[in-house]
């Protein structure tokens, strides 16, 4: 693969910045401490960290869990937009393409909200403008009256062909699940194409995308097997990784759990993943399995970013770790709001 260069770019600068930011993320001990706090205490605690600005800004308009949730979303969006600004050259291109997943999430949220006639203000509260579609574009989409108009407004964007193809059936069925699967399949195929287009660092980017596709496929296999739904699983599979679409279906349909683990292991080359899959041989709850797989993915990303310290890997590691920090804080706050026992909430945290 011949590499195209876009000039001398200071990878060291941005990679080190993100390493420092990663070190400022909440530690395991912080979560354990927060497990014994009430929501106002958690809000005060995270106000002393990098969420101060958002909590101060929103403190006059919101309170309780709403304040926490919106502050977290704002912080995540701000952080991701900022990374896109500071990332140089090809790293910027890769970061932007990777963050397009948030566009899918935002557009689907808007479509689902519009289909269920939810007020724009309510939909807006849960949007995270971290991708290509910024706050202004999302506001424009929110002003549209129907899902059809929302899709029309996205003409020219890469997701438009998929949206227009699946919109009619999604509205008829009252479910956007098939559209969502198709959007993610297209998203990952675009990422692979981008990584293989010959830009410097594309090989590293491709390594990560393949890892992520594999982990998503394995996670989905566990989910489908836990649900025991006899349906065509092929559309849930994301091509481009280790598992082919038909193989994915075959693995999902395996009756015996041990056979399933053996079959997955026979296709995996990554030694740490093999060891991890062995631990999943004892049947665990789906939630525990998913958390284990996510933890493994983050650990693997950490080791990739150590192996390639000045590449896309440290950036992607930070993006993912930040995302899970937000997910953890949300789980914590929602658990506290619903008065769940501490141990139960802890089970939902990726720490």
């Amino acid at each position: 693969m011949a590499e195209k260069r876009t000039g001398l770019v200071p990878y060291e600068y941005v990679c080190t910045r993100l390493r420092v930011r990663k070190s400022k993320l909440l530690a395991r001990e912080d979560y354990l401490r927060m497990l014994n706090m009430s929501i106002p205490e958690i809000t005060r605690f995270i106000e002393e960290t990098q969420y101060k600005k958002e909590i101060d800004e929103l403190g006059t308009s919101f309170s309780g869990i709403d304040l926490l949730e919106i502050a977290l979303s704002w912080n995540l969006a701000k952080e991701y937009q900022n990374i896109q600004k500071i990332a140089p050259g090809d790293l910027k291109r890769f970061t932007q393409s990777y963050l397009r997943r948030w566009d899918i999430q935002n557009v689907l949220t808007i479509l689902r909200g519009k289909a269920q006639k939810i007020k724009s203000g309510k939909i807006k509260e849960i949007l995270i403008p971290a991708g290509e579609l910024d706050r202004v574009i999302l506001d424009r989409l929110l002003k549209e009256e129907s899902p059809e108009r929302v899709v029309e407004a996205l003409k020219g964007y890469s997701m438009y062909p998929v949206l227009s193809k699946w919109l009619e059936s999604a509205i008829a069925e009252g479910s956007f699940a098939h559209m969502e699967n198709a959007l993610y399949r297209q998203f990952y195929s675009d990422l692979i194409e981008e990584a293989m287009s010959g830009f410097k660092g594309g090989r590293n980017y491709l390594d990560y995308i393949r890892l992520e596709i594999d982990m998503i496929n394995i996670r989905n296999m566990f989910r489908l097997r836990a649900d025991r739904i006899q349906q065509d699983a092929r559309e849930m599979a994301i091509p481009g990784g280790t598992f082919g679409v038909d193989e994915f279906q075959r693995l999902v349909n395996r009756e015996d759990h041990n056979e399933f683990i053996d079959a997955v292991k026979s296709r995996i080359k990554l030694r740490p993943l093999l060891d991890m899959l062995e631990t999943l041989r004892q049947e665990k709850s789906l939630r525990e399995t998913e958390i284990e797989l996510i933890k493994f993915q983050i650990q693997e990303m950490e080791s990739m970013s150590k192996r390639n310290p000045f590449s896309i890997h440290p950036i992607l590691t930070y993006l993912e770790k930040k995302k899970y920090e937000i997910i953890n804080l949300r789980a914590l706050a929602r658990g506290k709001e619903s008065n769940l026992p501490t141990e139960r909430i802890r089970g939902f945290l990726v720490i």
């Binding site: 200071p10 060291e12 600068y13 941005v14 080190t16 910045r17 390493r19 420092v20 930011r21 400022k24």
Partner: protein, 80 residues
């Protein structure tokens, strides 16, 4: 070469010494620059996120200066 006078040989030796000294300082200067390029960008990045480490970052940036100092010492030994 046989018809070179003593003065000519001495001048040539002095020239060679000067050239050696120039290469010693020049090459190590370039090497220091290359080394500091990466360390400097990383140091600025780290300092941008955490101002407390400015002193430490500066220390790391100047460590490759030792290379050019070695070059300078060699040059001085050659010349004097």
């Amino acid at each position: 070469m046989a018809d070179m006078t003593l003065e000519m040989v001495q001048a040539s030796q002095a020239g060679m010494k000067a050239l050696g000294a120039a290469i010693a300082v020049g090459a190590t200067g370039i090497a220091t620059g290359i080394a500091e390029m990466s360390i400097g960008s990383a140091a600025v990045g780290a300092t941008a996120e955490n101002k407390d480490i400015f002193g430490l970052a500066l220390l790391f940036v100047v460590i490759p200066e030792t290379i050019v100092i070695f070059g300078l010492v060699v040059a001085l030994l050659l010349l004097f």
